[in-house]
Amino acid sequence: MPEQEPWLTALFNEHLGGVAKSVLDAVGYKLEDPTHPWATWMVMELLVVAFIVVLFAVLRPRLSVDKPGGLQHVFESFYSFFQVSTEEAGIHHGERFVPYFGAVFIFILFMNLLGIIPTFESPTMSASVTLGLAICTFLFYNAAGVKANGPAYLKQFLGPVLFLAPLMIIIEIISHLARPLSLTIRLYANMMAGDQVTGAFEKVVPLLVPVVFMGLHVFVAFLQAYIFMLLSIVYVSGAVSHEH
């Protein structure tokens, strides 16, 4: 179903189509539409990354202990929010994980909010993006567990009693694999549903009712970013604090 692509994607496809195609050819990926190698979500995701880089490049020189500016206050409140969330989960020495949780929250939040602006689309509306984020979290919490506990990290897969181990291993592996799956689908479905519902109401009553749903979409954007971060915290705390 070829729908009209956003102007930014069209711009990328026009001018940078050759670059994308050569990269994809080098990897051996078959394109279904060779004239449009840039997918919308890829373009939007790069836009969010560029925005965040610019934002932090502007913030860094303005950081000061004596005379904090407005931007510093905003980000200090963000940081204390991440720190409090991490402390509530009770991770041993939780401060070393706060950068990852903060990065995940800010990235997902900006990606979700990008869809509110007309002619832009949330990259999190595509399952590829949310899967990538979920895999990052999956690798992160497993790596944190292995680093904190060593090879004994695998002992938690065996369950409480040793003779139940064969059964417990299967159950634990399935439940661990269900985590990135549920993270992916939760974020993807929330963003997609918000867009679909707004679109459906726009077809019926284009005047004021979709505004209500866009407001709901903003709330859901914040909430889903927070939920993703919170679940990452919970998974890391489960992996790290096992018999520590």
């Binding site: 689908i185 939760r186 479905a189 929330n190 997609m192 009553v205 004021l208």
Partner: protein, 107 residues
């Protein structure tokens, strides 16, 4: 005065929705396509069950949260946080069904 304004606003919205009746009926499934019809029925029933059970769960969560807030108003912020997290996680279960509908419909 406020009631009059509200009534007029609703009447405006309904009047603006009138043009939808002028649309020609489009996209009716052919009569012999029982597979497509059953698929749509499956989606409708499944989505209805998922949303209904999700609503029940969220109602119970909200009821527990408001009762706890009434018993211990000092704890309101923590209870509200737990409520919002619980509601979002229950909501996502209904959305899994929506994902099935989205990925499987249109074929």
């Amino acid at each position: 005065m406020a009631k009059k304004v509200l009534f007029l606003a609703f009447a405006m919205m309904i009047l603006l929705a009138m043009p939808t009746f002028a649309q020609a009926p489009g996209g009716a499934a052919p009569a012999s396509d029982i597979g497509g019809g059953l698929k749509t029925l499956g989606f409708a029933l499944g989505m209805g069950i998922a949303s209904g059970l999700c609503a029940l769960g969220q109602g119970k969560a909200t009821a527990g949260a408001t009762e706890a807030m009434a018993r211990n108003p000092g704890n309101t912020a923590a209870i509200r946080t737990a409520l919002i997290i619980g509601l979002a996680l229950i909501e996502s279960l209904a959305l899994y069904m929506f994902v099935v509908v989205l990925t499987k419909s249109g074929a």
